[in-house]
Symmetry: C2
C-alpha cells in the first residue's frame, strides 16, 4: 500500500511502546479488520518524529483474500485522520517494500519569509534569512553523484557502508507560495542525512559558510564538520522507487 501522513502527531514511523507511531496505528487498524489477528507491517523507510510522507510504501501478509480496492477503502475507514492510504495492490510473496526499493525521493520545504506562515509552520522549516539561489544550487550540485556521506550521517547511524548515490539534489522556488522546495533523489539515505545536508546547505545559502565548505565537509568524513540537523517538519518522503518489473506481475 502507498500512503501519505502528516507526521506532526506521530513519534515517527517505527513502533515504540506507549508512543503513537505510524506503524502502531496501521497495525492497530489492520488487527481490527482481521478480528484480532495481529498483522505486522514493513515500511520502505522509517521516518522520524515530525517527518511527513506523501508516498511511503508498506507491505504485509493478510490472512485472507480481500480485493485491493476493498483493502484501500477499509484502511481509510479504520485508520486515523492523519494517515491516508493512496493505493493498494496485491503482490506476490517475493515483494518487500524496503529491500526491493531501488531509491527514494524526498522533499524539504523552507519558508523563507521574515514572518512564519502559521499555516505551513508544521510542514516547512522557517529560515528568515536572505538566501542566494545560485549559490545554493552550486552547493547542491557538489552533493550529486556517489560519495561517502559519513559527514552527513547521524552518529547514531548503524550502517557500516556510508557510500550513497544522489541522482538529484535541486531546489526551486514555488511561484505562488515563495517557498524554497528542495528535492533529493538517491539510491538510499543514511539516518538524518537529508536533515544534516539541509542544516549545512542553509548555512551556505545565507552566507554563514563559504560555498567551498561543502566539498571540504564531504572529504572530512566527520559528522562534526557539517552543520546542524535541520528540523524534521520540513522533510517529506515523496516516493519510493522500485524496478519497473517489481510491481508488475
Amino acid at each position: 500500500m502507498k500512503l501519505a501522513y502528516d507526521g506532526t502527531a506521530f513519534s515517527g514511523f517505527q513502533i515504540q511502546p506507549n508512543k503513537r507511531t505510524v506503524q502502531g496505528e496501521i497495525e492497530k487498524a489492520l488487527s481490527k479488520m482481521a478480528k484480532g489477528d495481529f498483522i505486522r507491517i514493513k515500511g520502505a523507510g522509517r521516518t522520524d518524529a515530525g517527518v511527513h510522507a506523501r508516498g511511503q510504501m508498506i507491505h504485509f501478509d493478510y490472512p485472507k483474500y480481500i480485493p485491493a480496492e476493498g483493502m484501500l477503502r477499509a484502511m481509510n475507514t479504520l485508520g486515523p485522520e492523519d494517515i491516508v492510504f493512496l493505493n493498494s495492490e496485491i503482490v506476490d510473496q517475493t515483494f518487500h517494500s524496503q529491500y526491493l526499493a531501488t531509491g527514494k525521493i524526498y522533499q524539504y520545504r523552507v519558508d523563507n519569509h521574515q514572518l512564519k506562515d502559521p499555516f505551513t509552520r508544521l510542514y516547512a522549516h522557517h529560515h528568515p534569512f536572505e538566501m542566494d539561489l545560485k549559490r545554493t544550487q552550486k552547493a547542491l550540485a557538489v552533493l550529486e553523484g556517489t560519495h561517502d556521506f559519513t559527514s552527513f550521517a547521524s552518529a547514531h547511524s548503524d550502517k557500516e557502508d556510508k557510500t550513497r548515490t544522489i541522482y538529484e539534489a535541486s531546489v526551486m522556488i514555488d511561484e505562488k507560495t515563495e517557498e524554497w522546495i528542495f528535492t533529493f533523489r538517491g539510491n538510499g539515505f543514511l539516518y538524518n542525512m537529508i536533515r544534516i545536508i539541509m542544516g549545512t546547505i542553509l548555512q551556505i545559502a545565507d552566507g554563514r559558510r563559504p560555498l567551498e565548505d561543502i566539498k571540504r565537509i564531504l572529504e572530512a568524513k566527520d559528522r562534526t564538520a557539517a552543520g546542524p540537523t535541520a528540523s524534521p517538519k520540513g522533510l517529506c518522503m515523496m516516493e519510493v522507487l522500485y524496478d519497473e518489473h517489481t510491481l508488475d506481475e
Copy 2:
C-alpha cells in the same frame, strides 16, 4: 494590528473562561509586555472555533508609547506559535477595528479529491463528490447583491436586521492543488452565514439540490429552508476592509 492564525487549536476568537482563544492568548501576551497591566483587545470579527484568519484586525490602547515596529516584533516573540502578527500601526483614538470596518473578505476551501489530503485536512472542507463548476457559479451569482439573508443565518444570530450586501461570491479551482476556492466579499456577514451558504452551495454543486433552490431559499427567510452548516475548518477571514482614509492620517 493585522494578524493571521491557524484556528485549529483555538475555541474561536472571543475570550471564554477556561478555553484557549485567540483573544485570550493575545491579551495574555500584551499583559506580559505591559508588566501585568491588563489590556483588552477588540477584533474586527469573532471567528468561530476552527475558523482561520489571514487578515484579522485588532485594536487596543497600550499604556505607553512603543514604535509600531517594536510592537510587531514583541508580539511575534511573546505570542503563541499559531498566531502571527503581520502588521502594526499606531492609529488615533477614533479608530475602531470592528465599527469602522466597511466590509470583509472570506475564503472557503474545499478539497474535492476522493481521498482526503492529510496536509489540508485542517484547512479545507472535504467534499469527495463530483461537482459542476458552471452550476456552482450560477448559484453563487444569485447570492450577489443586497438581500435579506435570514435563511442563511444561524438561529442564534442576535442581529435584528439581516439584510447584507454581497459584492462578490465566486469560485475558482486552484490549478496546482485542484482545490475549489470560494471567495465572499461583502459589507458584513451574519453568524454562520458563509458556512450555511457553503453547506447549501455544495448540495447544489453536486446535484443533490436543484439550482433554482438558491432563490427559493433566499425568499423563504427561514433557516430550515437552507442546507447544513459546513465545517469551520474550510473558512478563513482574509481581509477586513476600511475606508481608505480611515487608516491614513
